[in-house]
């Protein structure tokens, strides 16, 4: 684990693993420090941004030193089930690349339990880890200029759902009708870091 300075009002905690990052995030969040403005998880890091002029970063650093990050607090993560029509444009390509049938791709994708590691790219876009090895495939060589909202895709070690239509290079397995993000809702984003997610196939 390494603490890196990030401008005047932020620090980046580089972590050895996703688990360690999640534990660090939980530890800082639990302290409920009013001057911490943003707590943004990355794939292997945690960004801690504070109110300009605040000295709370020192406090966070001390807190993280004494926290037991190998044994994260158990907590009760939220469980979200997303219904998916597995009719994606790249389903056959993913099957072919993995050397299995399309049905087996669906079985693998629905059989796994995922965790929202971090977000980004678009509001409500969660990067989900826990993807079975055969489905870990590279992005498309040529990204699509428009991926429809609700598309479920895979890229590298992640799977995720496009909350709105946008350009994108993930391999698409299918789509969901569930709304992932609504800025006017009390809870705007369905997915937040730490949530557990499963996919369920529907016809």
């Amino acid at each position: 684990m390494r603490w890196r300075r990030y401008g005047e009002d932020a620090a980046l905690l580089e972590c050895d693993s996703l688990e360690q990052m999640s534990a660090a995030r939980a530890a800082v969040a639990a302290a409920e420090l009013a001057d911490v403005v943003e707590l943004v998880p990355g794939a292997r890091s945690l960004l801690i941004e504070v109110r300009p002029g605040s000295t709370v970063l020192d406090q966070v650093r001390v807190l993280l030193k004494s926290a037991d990050l190998e044994h994260p607090p158990e907590g009760r993560p939220r469980e979200i089930v997303l219904d998916v029509h597995y009719d994606g444009e790249d389903l056959e390509l993913v099957a072919e690349t993995a050397g299995i049938s399309a049905d087996e791709v669906v079985k693998l994708h629905t059989g796994a339990r995922y965790t929202v590691a971090f977000t980004g790219f678009a509001p409500g876009f969660g990067y989900l880890t826990g993807l079975p090895e055969p489905l870990r495939q590279s992005r498309l060589d040529t990204p699509r200029t428009r991926v429809p909202s609700g598309s479920v895709g895979v890229a590298g070690e992640f799977t995720g759902v496009y909350p709105r239509s946008s350009p994108g290079g993930w391999r698409l397995l299918g789509h969901t009708d569930t709304v992932l993000f609504d800025a006017r809702d009390e809870r705007p984003s369905l997915l937040a870091p730490g949530d557990r997610v499963r996919f369920r196939a529907i016809r």
């Binding site: 990030y6 943004v40 990355g42 794939a43 960004l47 300009p52 790219f121």
Partner: protein, 285 residues
């Protein structure tokens, strides 16, 4: 209802307040006025709280009509402000009677003018803010002709003043930066000093600079950075080696290394830096 009508939005007119920080973990950028001191000043001039929503007008040309009487102030770069065809000047509170129109000229330096109305623009907030985020498309859409914007109740008293000094946006910016978190990725870090030139591909997401590209060290050449959080002012170096200085509508995470971060006090200057502006960075640790 107190309200103001957009007669003509000019090149771009967006509702902005101080943004919606605190939602980065959901992928939502902070957004908000790029030139924060300018918006705060405009609000103070009309007797508002500094955090009230106003209009960020790119390169002027904005024309509004008062649907009810209100006090207005224009800040940012010095600009011609016409009240029913009479120049009343920027950086001062102006009283509009119902039906009167106010039109901004084109600023000769800088990019973004700020219009505050007594009571503030009272459209529905999203995630605690009325700011338009151009990256995420959250908040009120870009303003268009004929649109009616509701104003809140006016509570404060406009500031009385004689003259407010303004300074033109400089053609060359000297910008202090703090190195890190990923300065160790680059071979010729000295090249970060510049000079760089602001390009036309700049917007509320970030200012793109042209100049001598930075090269990665042998150790980091071709290495992929696992996505990590971004802050406003982060100087990111994509594979081209040409820096992007992220502004308020920046993505919340990114997969390219951030070599340094602009000091807070220099951020408003980037909000006003026209294409062609020369930028020199002064790094420290």
């Amino acid at each position: 209802m107190r309200a103001v009508e957009i007669v003509s939005p000019g090149p771009s007119a967006l509702v902005q307040d101080l943004g919606r920080p605190g939602h980065g973990h959901l992928g939502v950028p902070p957004s908000g006025a790029l030139d924060v001191p300018a918006l705060k000043l405009a609000n103070r001039l009309v007797g508002n709280r500094e955090s009230a929503a106003g209009i960020e007008s790119l390169l002027g040309g904005l024309k509004v009509r008062a649907q009810s009487s209100c006090t207005v102030a224009v800040t940012g770069p010095l600009v011609q402000v016409m009240l029913d065809g009479r120049d009343v000047g920027s950086h001062a509170p102006v009283f509009l009677r119902q039906g009167q129109t106010l039109m901004l000229g084109t600023p000769t330096t800088g990019l973004r003018c700020y219009l505050a109305f007594s009571g503030g623009i009272d459209v529905d907030p999203e995630l605690g803010s009325r700011s338009r985020d151009v990256l995420s498309e959250i908040g009120p859409p870009p303003l268009c002709a004929g649109e009616i914007l509701p104003l809140g109740l006016s509570r404060g008293v406009p500031t009385g003043l004689d003259v407010l000094p303004t300074s033109p946006s400089p053609a060359e910016l000297e910008v202090p930066i703090l190195l890190g978190p990923r300065d160790d990725w680059f071979e010729n870090l000295g090249a970060l000093a510049g000079p760089w030139t602001v390009t036309a591909e700049s917007n509320r997401v970030g200012v793109r600079l042209a100049g001598t590209a930075l090269a990665r060290t042998a150790e980091f050449a071709g290495r992929e950075l696992p996505s990590e959080g971004l802050v406003t002012g982060a100087i990111q170096l994509p594979p081209s080696g040409l820096p992007v200085v992220f502004l308020a509508d920046h993505p919340t995470t990114g997969g390219y290394p951030v070599s340094a971060v602009v000091r807070r006090t220099s951020l408003p200057a980037f909000a006003q830096a026209r294409p062609g502006t020369i930028v020199r960075f002064h790094p420290s640790r």
